[in-house]
């Protein structure tokens, strides 16, 4: 008896749905679910074809299926995949570190000091950075041959690191500045009275507070080289020095090295860690992006 009555009770604080409302809710679900299928389907095909051993050099999705790791084996043994991973990691880590080193200072300077030429310089570099990095590509080639004449140890990969870092300085400074602006200057003043120098204030007070934002900037700088195809393709000439994007492209475009299933396998391996990173840190990544622009 009681059980039955409990079932009939309407306990939600929302109004009960009208038939039309029910229809719309169903429609809502339908749209949302079908779009998730639109997203999942191509990605799932990639996963499936990476594990399908019944393929040659081309992906065939309609044919037979046999689970195998053969494409991964091919990837590791016949291609330079591991070298590409290493190259990309080196470039990404170096870019992230260099960016943080440079930007944490500029962000602090632009947030806390009112110095001559502050607004103009910020505006100038912001404008300069709307110019696509690629516009300077001819100069990068020549610049590298000039620099490597004076400093032979500087490779094209290092150039790439500098280009990525230089390209991000203005935007990252802006993001960090915006974040620092939201921290009260009373803390600084108190530290100043206690005899801290500016350097100490940054190290002891500001940095611990802005650490989350620094982490986000580092993360974005780290991910950048994984995503970029254009600069490595144009600047790096040897397959041994390629990054992942440029390297994997050879698996699907170059007639001699073409192997589409291996590309799928490589793409899967590359995407997996990044996807996990994004899913875990989605809130932080988005807030980082939004901070810079909304506040800016």
């Amino acid at each position: 008896m009681i059980k039955k009555r409990k079932k009939d009770l309407y306990l939600s604080d929302r109004q009960p749905l009208t038939p039309l409302g029910k229809f719309f809710l169903a429609l809502n679900y339908f749209v949302l679910i079908s779009y998730s299928l639109v997203i999942l389907w191509p990605l799932s095909r990639m996963v499936i074809s990476a594990f399908n051993g019944k393929q040659g050099r081309y992906i065939s999705l309609s044919g037979k299926y046999e689970f195998s790791f053969k494409h991964f084996e091919y990837l590791f043994k016949e291609t330079l995949y591991l070298t590409w991973v290493k190259n990309t990691l080196v470039i990404a880590v170096a870019t992230a570190i260099l960016t943080i080193l440079i930007v944490s200072f500029t962000g602090y300077a632009y947030s806390r000091f009112r110095f001559k030429g502050r607004k103009t310089s910020l505006m100038t570099i912001m404008l300069l950075q709307t110019i696509p990095t690629f516009a300077g590509i001819t100069a990068y080639f020549t610049l590298h041959s000039i620099i490597s004449d004076f400093f032979p140890f500087i490779t094209r990969q290092m150039m790439l690191i500098f280009i990525y870092t230089g390209g991000g300085i203005a935007a990252n400074t802006f993001i960090l500045k915006g974040y620092m602006d939201s921290i009260s200057t009373e803390l600084d003043d108190a530290a100043m009275i206690d005899g801290c120098s500016y350097m100490q204030i940054y190290k002891l007070i500001i940095m611990p507070i802005v650490r989350p934002m620094l982490a986000i900037i580092a993360l974005w700088s780290f991910i950048g080289p994984f995503m970029d195809y254009m600069l490595p393709k144009a600047l790096l000439t040897k397959p041994e020095s390629y990054t992942l994007a440029a390297g994997l492209y050879t698996l699907m475009n170059n007639r001699e090295t073409l192997n589409q299933p291996a590309f799928a396998a490589g793409g899967l391996l590359t995407a997996l860690p990044i996807v996990i990173l994004f899913i875990v840190l989605q809130k932080e990544l988005i807030s980082g992006l939004a901070q810079g622009s909304v506040k800016g």
Partner: protein
Amino acid sequence: MTSEYLYDHLDRAYPRKNLYLKDLAQLQAKDADQSQIKDFISSKAEHPYTSKLNDYKKNEKIFIQEKKKASQEKISQLKVSNDLSYFLIEKFEAEEDLKFYQKYLDLTYDAELGYESALILSTRLDGIISNLEKMEREITELEACTAILDGTDKFNHTFISREDYKASIKELKSKRKEGLISAKALETGRRELKEAYKYSKELRKLEDPEYRLKKEIQSKKHAKSNYVKTSKRLLKDDLAQIRRRVPIEIERKRAYLPWISLPFPGLGQLLNNQKAKALLFFLAGLFIYLVAIPYSLGFANYQGKGLAGLISLAAGGKRTDRSIIFMIEGIIALTLLTLSALIIIFSFLDVKKVNQDRYKGIRTRNWFETRSSILEDGFPYLVSLPAFFVIVFIVIVPIMTTLLLSFANMGPKTQSKFPWIGLANYKLLITGQGLVGSVFWKIFLWTIIWTIGATSLAIFIGFALALLAHNPRIKGKGILRTIYLLPWAVPAFITIMFFSIMFSPGGELSLLLSKLMGRTIDVKNSMIWTRAVLILLQGWLGSSYIFLLSTGVLQAIPDDLYEAAEIDGANSWQRVLKITLPIVLFQTAPLLVNQYTFNFNNFSIIYLFNGGGPFSPLEYGNLAGSSDILISYIYKLTINNQYQSVGAAVSIFISMGLMLIAYLGFRNTKAFKEERL
């Protein structure tokens, strides 16, 4: 003109003590004849004040020599630590100074400075010396083990044993397991326990008298060295304060000083008696004379001829000489020269300012003051230096190169040597002539369609999904959000390449499309289909980011807004239109604009999907395909076909447009309008 009063940096007036200058000023103020003034100046030696001042200077010289001798003797007699002897000598000298300068207090401000400095030193030093002596005595006593440490050997403290510590942690963990405390509380509790345990361990160690003694000596020594350092700094600070308060009197302006330091940065500073500053400027001068100027004259170049190479572009040079290298080395030379010019101007202004200030009565800053002003006022500049250099050489030099290249003629036939050709490249593009120019406007048009179409589609899909998923009755939002995040999280080049495979002839999506349309469709060989698929694909890729962004904003909209609207009788459509849409648009507007510029330059998708194709030589020539946008056109011009100059002109063309849009955008953002502080 000589003023009757002296001023300090706060413009406080002080009467002159130099009577000669005072008379001169009065004479000038009375509008006396030029000849009278001249006579007065020429008879300076006969002025009574002059001889007095000369006497003072002579006596001071003798006094300083004697003082030095005496203090050196004193040093050899003193049998104390270095720190202490430093302060003792200071005190001795200050007392001597007091006696000497007191006699000349009314004569000159230099004597007043000496007197006041000595006064402050002698008052401060007593305390410092006695404190220091006490500290040293304590240390020696401790070292000789004669002192008895105060406090008992046992602390009034309940010690935590290792077992206790482990047990408490276990207890915390079990509490967490039972759900009595949160994970955060567990974390905090654990940290607290650890701290307490560490502290307790340290205290236990301190019960050992020997260890305690060692620690005590260590801390005392540390305190002492700290005290010495701080005292020295505070004394210097006090002296600097006096320098700001006591003016200086000089006769001539030495207006030539800034000018003679123009060719030699540092010289003026040296003559102004600022040695450390002079050294800094001198080092900068070395950069100018050993790096910037030789480089721009063509020495130590890689291949070019410095600045001259910028004009000649290697015309008539050796076969191996390449114009582009000449151009870039010319630009580098230009950059170095600009830096040099900045240094020289800075040095000139510095000398000029110091000189003028001295004439007014403000004393030159000493190194202690200069250093702290560099560290304070110069701090933002100092820490921005690395960024400055990276931007100059990685952003500005390449952009300058591109700009200049667009006025030259670097093409497939003129790779190694090319001349300046002025605006010809731009003319080619604007009038749409020649092999490279004829397709420009067609590509431009498609670029605009692509940018607006693809971005708007992505924004529409993303926002619509966010709105649908925001419905409170929808369940499983977390899963939906994770799925919708995927196109953003998977590196775009991977998805684009995979889609490219699926849309190739015989690919799965190609087959599907053909089945739907009822005829064979070759996406990659049809301009219309390639373009349509590209826009759809970017919609697929870009919507995820918009979805996540709008979801964030939607969640932040307070519910009462909707409730109020509901009570006022707004239906759900009106609520979306009048509340949700404006808020989301307003908050994400800058990011949406960024999305448009991103797609304007979205090279990857165009190049990786179909290589810019399909190619229709009749309509597009050999240089570009029918789905190429400007950025991929630049890529093909520059990398594949070696039309670097035309590529540069296109780059400059789109950069101008982007910069204009960005400028209009930034100008109106909050950050540039209202500044904090």
